[in-house]
């Protein structure tokens, strides 16, 4: 019991001890006397009996209370309370400083509230639509990507007369500009008539203003040089440019010394001056090179293509409505200029879309212009006159016999000669001058003139155009072809546009099919057919383009049962085949292969060659080199 009593009394003693120790943490320890413990004897009268219980052994458990008698701890904040950051930054090329317009010219009525409001100033932005630039997919440097992301929306640049444009661009045109601007490699392949030239000039202008481009070379076909000049003055009124032409010494001066930021040159001069361009010592280099009608470099080994690729440049843009004119290799060869080594020469067709994605933009009119007037194409099957038919049958029969007699000495040029002779008979009987097409044309033109409209007519040759000019005099025809001097051509176009008595413009495919804006004409006649529908499309789109307000009626003359109808059938089959392979996004337009040209006639003769008979070379007859009974354009 004593032990129990001790245990019982010891428990309350432990509590004050804990309290003391806690107290000791807050104050100096005080001397406290230990408590007294006494053991009292237990007295009782009861008889003590014993009983045997299986008692458990007594055990003592001792708890030791650890006294928290150490000094209190203080925890300090492990991190710094200071908030600090690091910065990174980039400076960009200094944009051209163009004097802002005077406030009196541009301040809208809302501007008054700037002064009137207090304490806040209020402004009213004019535009809500925003076309923003995005970095090019191949832009690697963060600085370069940020520079594009930080450019203002295009619409903002055109407000407040900061950059004046003759017309407000369509939305798809702004998107085209936003596509071109960030890209060092770009192929703008919009369908003809959507304004590739305008989009390019505005993009160039904005790059010049931003200080991102300081020198630019524009290369275009010779007939289009005046057109580019006009467009540059219209859409880039503040861009000084020079046309590189003249003597060798003068051209050298222009290439190396002329201060204008933009230079304009045709493909022929470019090819002529290739050595100068490729010479590092001459120091001719450009921030941007633009190839218009870039299908001119579709043949990789041609001098034109070599000259274009030899230009030292930072950015390469190509413009064409027909990125694939004859075969998929055309696109590959375009990219040899646009982005060298990006599309290998033997790339399978199926891989082309992946490789060109991000660098190629193509829109067709139906996609972007909801209210574009329709283009109605009709094939006018015109029978040959009896004299024409007789002459034609005789010429074809004799021609085929002649070709077969050539045996393996036959060449494609022999076949061409026959094709061209027959096509010319389809136009006019060489002896009587009769023409089933002309009869039909006169009837159609009478309607055109009666309605006060204008028409364009295309032919492969100059001679039929000159004949037509004489026989259609009542419609005030004008001529625009290779025999018309370049300096006289702009005046022809102006007269055609302005003179109400001029209802007909006679053009050759070679001279009039590219780059011209003739949207004031509503009728197009293809008097004879070109080998390649792409060229025909370009011709048609001289009239069916932006600015056209009325439907355009296209009449393609075809004489049934002749070489014309056979060529048309071949080209149509190929067009359908390529549409299935590539799709509608890139409309193919195909020439004819050598095999197909031979297949136009029932020929047993074939040229002797060492290679396989499956020749992939596409045939593009060159009118100037083949002069059979007519004059090439």
């Amino acid at each position: 019991m004593t032990e129990r009593g001790h245990e019982a009394s010891a428990l309350p003693l432990a509590m004050p001890a804990i309290g003391r120790n806690l107290l000791a943490q807050a104050a100096p320890r005080a001397a406290v006397p230990p408590p007294s413990v006494r053991a009292e004897p237990l007295l009782t009268d009861a008889v003590l009996t014993s009983r045997a219980w299986p008692l458990p052994p007594l055990a003592v458990r001792v708890h030791t209370a650890r006294l928290a008698d150490e000094t209190p701890w203080v925890r300090s904040w492990g991190g710094s309370l200071n908030l600090a950051v690091q910065t990174t930054g980039w400076t960009f090329p200094t944009p051209l400083e163009v004097r802002p317009p005077a406030a009196s010219e541009t301040a809208p009525a809302a501007h008054e509230s700037v002064r009137a409001s207090s304490p806040a100033a209020s402004l009213t932005p004019k535009v809500s639509r925003r076309t923003r630039l995005a970095p090019s997919p191949d832009a690697v440097l963060l600085r370069e990507r940020l520079l594009m992301l930080l450019q203002p929306p295009l619409e903002h640049l055109f407000t407040g007369k900061r950059i004046t444009l003759p017309f407000e661009p369509f939305r798809y045109q702004l998107e085209g500009i936003a596509f071109l601007m960030p890209r060092h490699s770009a192929l703008l392949a919009d369908e003809m008539g959507l304004g590739k030239t305008m989009q390019t000039i505005v993009a160039l202008r904005l790059l010049l203003h931003a200080g991102l481009v300081r020198s630019c070379l524009i290369v275009c076909p010779k007939p289009l040089v005046p057109n580019w000049g006009r467009e540059l003055r219209a859409w880039g009124e503040d861009i000084p440019f020079e046309v590189i032409a003249g003597s060798t010494a003068h051209r050298r001066f222009l290439w190396t010394r002329a201060p204008s930021p933009v230079k304009l040159v045709n493909y022929e001069v470019l090819t002529r001056d290739q050595a100068l361009l490729a010479d590092p010592a001459a120091g001719v280099a450009f921030d941007l090179v633009i190839l218009d009608e870039a299908q001119r470099i579709k043949n990789h080994g041609s001098k034109t293509a070599q000259a274009a690729r030899a230009i030292r440049r930072q950015r390469s843009w190509a413009l064409t409505g027909t990125p694939i004119e004859n075969r998929p290799e055309d696109l590959i060869n375009l990219f040899a200029f646009i982005k060298p080594d990006h599309v290998p020469p033997e790339t399978p067709v199926k891989k082309l879309p992946d490789l060109t994605h991000g660098f190629l933009l193509r829109r067709v009119k139906e996609d972007v212009i909801a209210d574009m007037p329709p283009k109605l194409v009709r094939d006018a099957y015109v029978e040959l006159t009896p004299e024409q038919r007789a002459r034609y049958e005789l010429a074809e029969t004799e021609g085929v016999v002649h070709l077969n007699n050539l045996g393996d000495t036959i060449t494609i040029q022999h076949v061409f000669e026959l094709v061209l002779r027959l096509k010319q008979i389809c136009n006019f009987d060489p002896l009587t001058g009769q023409s089933g097409k002309l009869d039909q044309l006169q009837a159609d033109l009478a309607e055109v003139a009666a309605s006060g409209r204008k028409a364009i007519l295309f032919s492969q040759w100059v001679e039929p155009l000159e004949i037509l000019a004489g026989r259609l005099a009542e419609f005030g025809p004008l001529q625009f072809h290779g025999r018309v001097p370049s300096r006289a051509r702009p005046a022809v176009l102006e007269r055609f546009r302005d003179d109400p008595d001029c209802h007909l413009l006679l053009m050759s495919y070679g001279t009039g099919s590219v780059g011209l804006n003739l949207q004031f004409a509503n009728y197009v006649f293809l008097f004879d057919r070109w080998w390649n529908p792409a060229v025909e499309d370009q011709a048609i789109n001289r009239a069916h383009r932006i600015g056209q307000k009325d439907p355009v009626l296209v009449t393609r003359f075809v004489t049934p049962g002749t070489i014309e109808s056979r060529i048309c059938a071949v080209l149509e089959r190929k067009r359908q085949l390529f549409a299935e392979l590539i799709g509608d996004g890139v409309t193919p337009s195909l020439g004819m292969s050598e095999e197909e040209v031979f297949g136009l006639f029932d020929l047993t003769a074939r040229p002797h060659r060492q290679e396989s008979a499956t020749v992939r070379t596409q045939v593009q007859p060159r009118p100037p080199a083949v002069r059979v009974g007519g004059l090439a354009a």
């Binding site: 904040w77 991190g79 309370l81 908030l83 600090a84 950051v85 690091q86 910065t87 990174t88 930054g89 980039w90 400076t91 960009f92 200094t94 944009p95 400083e97 163009v98 802002p100 406030a103 541009t106 301040a107 809208p108 809302a110 501007h111 700037v114 002064r115 409001s117 207090s118 304490p119 806040a120 100033a121 209020s122 402004l123 009213t124 932005p125 004019k126 535009v127 809500s128 925003r130 970095p135 963060l142 990507r145 940020l146 520079l147 992301l149 930080l150 450019q151 203002p152 929306p153 903002h156 640049l157 407000t159 407040g160 900061r162 203003h209 931003a210």
Partner: protein, 167 residues
């Protein structure tokens, strides 16, 4: 010859990585001349407790904004900011500072017939009332400009920078 107009657009954006500042310097046409950004800053719970209501002004103006202005290489004509807290930046700079904010009505209040151009206002620090006149003088030449739009560019640029850093 009058000095060219250089506008500084200073924004602070907040995302899960923290607060990040961006400064875009443009010419009068809105073309970029310079861009700076800060590293993201994530204040802790302790910062929030200790700084209390003063945390955001301190973070925006004294830390992020000041760091950007200290490093800016282009002399500015004025500074436009996207948050009221950044007006405190005025105490660190001699250039006038204006807070640009949209005054467009809410979509509910706007209704389908009120589809007009966006309106906005510019406010200045109460301790620097003269800034109002300085800003108004500069903003005269910017009539028709959307002063809120550059902040979108800053946000996109900060996002791009973060993506490129993470890649």
């Amino acid at each position: 010859m009058e000095a060219a107009l250089h506008l500084g657009f200073l924004a602070v954006v907040h995302d899960p990585q923290g607060y990040q500042g961006g400064l875009l310097v443009t010419n009068g046409w809105g073309r970029p001349l310079e861009f700076r950004l800060t590293t993201p800053l994530q204040p802790t719970r302790v910062h929030q407790i200790l700084y209390g209501a003063t945390l955001r002004p301190h973070l925006f103006a004294d830390v992020l904004g000041k760091a950007l202005l200290d490093k800016a290489a282009t002399p500015l004509s004025l500074i436009l900011v996207n948050a009221a807290e950044l007006l405190e930046l005025r105490r660190h700079t001699a250039w006038p500072v204006g807070w640009v904010q949209s005054t467009a009505p809410t979509p509910e209040a706007q209704g389908p017939a009120a589809d007009g151009p966006e309106r906005f206002s510019v406010e200045v620090h109460a301790a620097f009332p003269d800034d109002r006149h300085a800003l108004a003088r500069h903003l005269e030449s910017l009539a028709g400009s959307d002063l809120l739009e550059p902040f979108d560019r800053i946000r996109e640029a900060l996002t791009e920078a973060r993506k490129r850093t993470a890649a």
